[in-house]
Amino acid sequence: MTDQPAADDLAARPFDELVAELQRIVQALETGNLPLEESIARYREALRLHAAAEQRLREAELSISQLGRGLDAGGEEETAAADSDG
């Protein structure tokens, strides 16, 4: 059960939650007052979170959509010259 690098429950969670959770665990581990068994369990969780977040970044591709295609943008468009600045 801990061999699954990025289990389904993590795949469904937002990226920033994965990172925040990972940061929390690292801090908890670093304060060092957890029982040993719990430290090990938390560490396993940290590895899962790291793998899930890393995979998410690796596979991320900016999703792009458009509302009301052409609406209000059809007729009178700025020229490329007028809009040349980034």
Binding site: L57, R69, D85, G86
Partner: protein, 420 residues
Amino acid sequence: MVNDSDQPTLWGAPRAAPRILRVTDLNRRVRALLDGDPALADVWVEGEVSQPTYPPSGHCFFTLKDAASQVKAVLFREELARATVRPVHGMQVICHGKVRAYEPQGTYQVYVESLTPAGAGDLHQQYEALRVRLAGEGLFDPARKRPLPRWPRRIGVVTSPTGAVWRDIGNVLRRRYPIGELVLSPTIVQGPTAAGAIVRALDRLSARGDIDVVILGRGGGSLEDLWSFNDERVVRAVAAAPMPVVVGVGHESDVTLADFAADLRAPTPSAAAEQVAPDLSTFPAILDRLRDRASAALVGRLAERRRFLAAEGRALTRLLPDTAALRQRTADLVDRGHRALLSRTGQQATALVGLADALRALSPAATLERGYAVVRLADGTIVRDPAQTAAGELLDVVVARGSIGARVDRVTPGTEELLP
């Protein structure tokens, strides 16, 4: 002034000598001349800005020129802050100010008090009037500005779908924040119908209810090109949007009223894209550092437990009873007990002998042995006084080895002379 003296000179014939001025005197004279001209104290001059510089002093120095001539100009920090546009190279402007000489350099320049884009006199007045009115309503108050979400899920973009701005925003976010979702709400961004279209495009995003932040962007252009972003409807729509709006319009030097109303003003559309989301391009390294910290913490924890257990082990060994020492102590105790017992019996034996002697000394037998006798009456009473008896009475005389029955012959009181 001319020196009128006609003293002889080295060159012979006396003549009117020229008055020689120091440079400082000359410059002071020129300055006084310019200062004395009321027209130069209040001039309007139109020209093209050339090579503006912005040194750390905060002032702006530039050259104002037309096809044939040029003149130096300076816009001091305070005036620059009030100006609605920053002078940029090539900009056609009308400057209002005064002309003065700068004595140390022997130059004169235009000290600009206000500067407006040329040909925009009407527009500029409209802009100022609207700015003052909306500012009076509090539309531009810093307190109204909302913080941007740190991790936006959906980023709305209001701009032209065909321009470079949309392409650039996509590129920036694809590189920096690929986990996001871009939603383009297309609009025209210039022309008489642009303001209404921009408002509608913003409304479409607001209506979705799932947009975390909006970029309103447009590339650079003339003041007229950017005019839609000074339209009151657009400014109000930006201020009223339910989600934070980042406005990035034109170049750094262009400040539209929409910029004032925005929750964040970005100098350009690309900068707006950089400011709406964190840069994740560095995140793999950050994630790896977090994982390494977790590993280090666990390794440290394990090492600490191991040290702890080792220390506990040593403590336990110290706490175990030392049987050899115990055995020795037991043996010692037995020995001591034995010795104590022996010495006690010795003492008691000696004591017993003493006691026996004492007892013996106290016994009447010993006294009898020494030759004394005990005289008793018939009823057993011991006779200590002759008066206890009378002549003819029977007495019992006890000696060491037996008793003698005797009859009293005579009775004589007193003892001293009787004893041997």
